[in-house]
Amino acid sequence: MPDVDAQKVIELGYSGNERLVMNMGPQHPSAHGVFRMILTLEGETIVAVDAVIGYLHRCHEKLGETLTYVQYPSIASKTDYVAAMTSELAYVLAAEKIGGIEVPRRAQYLRVLAAELQRIASHCLWLGTWCMDMGGALGGGATIFLYAIREREMVLDLFEALTGARLLYGFHQVGGTRYDLPAAWAERCRSAVDFIDTRIDEYEEMLEDNAFFLARTREVGVISRELAQEVGVSGPLIRGSGIGYDIRRLEPYSSYQEFDFKVPVETTGDCLARYRVRMVEFRESIKIVRQALDGLPAGSISSRPGVKSVGQVRIPKGEGYARVEGPRGEVGCYMIADGSPKPYRMKWRGASFSNLAVLPHIIPGHKVADVVAITGSVDPVFGEVDR
């Protein structure tokens, strides 16, 4: 049922026409997982939207209390399964912050490398699925999707060589990283990002010279600067609304201060602005990957010796919050440690969860077709929304 606010919108916007309540999701071709929107329509125009989440809740925060610091990073990757490196990193950063654990510089660079490759892979999937939302699985959208998936595959191959896994990595651990680069990996990575760099030009050519694409994205789903701040969106959404908010710049972690990159900002706040921000981020991530490969320091990849059992890493009493800039925005982990091998309490701040909260504010007034375009431009991953 629509909540009270939605009901109010319906009554205010009611102009005597027949209204239709339509259910979009949780099983729907463009639900991006399991997202349910209850739309109230007047003809094709949406007057109210009620967003229902929670279909993918897996008790991640409770799991965080029952698993040790050694075990949980591999589970953390399951929150945002499209960009698994991100939440792993947030978790280990929080533990390291409380314990005051130093991370060797090589490990820091490896973390940056993984994070940026992950951003490329995640944006590839976003571009593909978003275009598929707008263009249909039986149309031009599917073409872009298949192109983008081809490039994501290259990054996943790199991750497979690095960690042995393609989706959920378990690459980060408290005190450093679990794996070092295999032989010849750096050259492979370099040629892969060079190739992806040329492909991004192709996407831009195919989309930005396309009047239909512009018609579908320009002035659609405008998030104003004020609304963005009020709701607390982050990542490409807030940067598309004119605020250059990027954790990598504001509160550098894993030696991000040593890298030279640009934080793209667009002012219009519509779907096109979010698209442009992400397209620049593609290129900036490639730049950072190259810098990380060039400047990769020698040395150890972990500040602590290997453990014989999962309970051997203990974090002293204390609490702390660590945040990282994921592909979808600010991913935060708040942790309370009590000196045992497990955290006493852990809380996730999922970027998609906060970003999704903006939908009921911007969707009313648009047409049905815009709903999928707007939802796609927010780029939610429901593992991260529901956790």
Partner: protein
């Protein structure tokens, strides 16, 4: 004598109908292969050499599927809709001359018949959308009526340009009028007219980027969301038959029909190649554009396409008037 004629016509219609179904079946394979090429894939490859038996496997699969009729649907309307949709889409082939003298009936009002019959498909679409008693289907039926009304007018006006230039409504006559110079080669008028015809054709056939009826990312599958098995196959068949039919019409009206080098019996091949070119052009558009919104679709029709085709038609009439009569008259 009349019985013999009736039997001959019946046999001819039977042969044509089955030829259409066979062609449509294989055109789906062609489209899938073409799309796969564009998307750097291989496409169907497993059933038969190079996937050549894939359409037959698909048809068999659809025949064996359970035929689901939703409990709350309007049974009569729901069950009739695929047939009502299919009949006009196949009937349009009756008037197409595939070569001089080769065709079911080269009516003296051929173009008019074609346009009138192909506009009837909306009845089937709306019945499917309404009878399903499904919100997605209903919304899709609503869009269908909007779109067909908006796009049939520019489609008709674009198709009338060659009629005015040729001075006849008979498709065979229009083709003969293009001997020497195809209508698409007329400076500016021909190219713009053909372009308008293509756009209106894509929209009237509800293909991407104008496929807001099906719009599987919003309306799941639109009016056909509740259909399964053979009824779904009939709808699919009708859509492709319509696309092929309008491709043939485009080839006849603008691309000189069966005219081409070589002996006269090559006419069928020339016409089919030209229709294939039109079809592939439409397919190319389909697999490279994103879908546009319903209000934008209506905007394009009423604000751009309709005035444009109407003025092109007037220009064509002026050309005919000042050059001393139509070529075919």
């Amino acid at each position: 004598m009349t019985t013999a004629l009736a039997v001959r016509d019946f046999v001819a219609a039977f042969v044509l109908l089955n030829a259409v179904i066979a062609v449509v079946t294989y055109v789906t394979l062609l489209e899938r292969k073409f799309a796969a090429r564009m998307q750097s894939r291989i496409g169907p490859y497993r059933v038969g050499p190079h996937g050549l038996l894939q359409p037959i496997a698909d048809a068999l699969k659809l025949m064996m599927k359970e035929d689901v009729v939703p409990a709350t649907s309007d049974r009569w309307v729901f069950n009739l809709a695929p047939l009502v949709f299919l009949i006009p889409c196949v009937l349009i082939f009756a008037t197409i001359p595939f070569a001089p003298g080769l065709g079911l009936a080269d009516l003296n009002i051929g173009v008019l018949f074609f346009l009138a019959v192909s506009a009837l498909e909306i009845v089937g679409l709306f019945m499917a959308g309404w009878g399903s008693n499904n919100k997605y289907a209903l919304l899709s039926a609503m869009r269908a009526v909007n779109q067909i009304i908006s796009y049939d007018l520019p489609f008709i006006f674009a198709a009338l340009i060659p009629v005015v230039l040729g001075g006849t409504l008979r498709l065979g006559g229009i083709v003969e009028a293009q001997r020497g110079l195809w209508f698409v080669a007329y400076p500016l008028l021909g190219q713009l007219g053909f372009l308008a015809y293509l756009v209106a054709m894509i929209a009237a056939e509800n293909r991407v980027p104008f496929d807001i009826l099906e719009a599987e990312s919003e309306l799941v599958a639109g009016f056909r969301v509740e259909y399964s098995g053979m009824k779904f196959a009939l709808i699919q068949l009708a859509e492709y038959a319509h696309v092929i039919g309008t491709s043939y019409l485009g080839a006849l009206l603008f691309l000189g029909g069966w005219l081409g080098p070589g002996p006269a019996w090559l006419g069928l091949i020339w016409l089919s190649l030209k229709a294939l070119a039109v079809f592939l052009l439409v397919t190319w558009v389909r697999w490279s554009f994103v879908r546009i919104r319903v209000d934008q679709i209506l905007g394009i029709s009423w604000k751009l396409l309709l005035p444009a085709t109407l003025s092109l038609l007037l220009v064509a009439a002026a050309v005919v008037a000042y050059s001393g009569g139509a070529r075919g008259a």
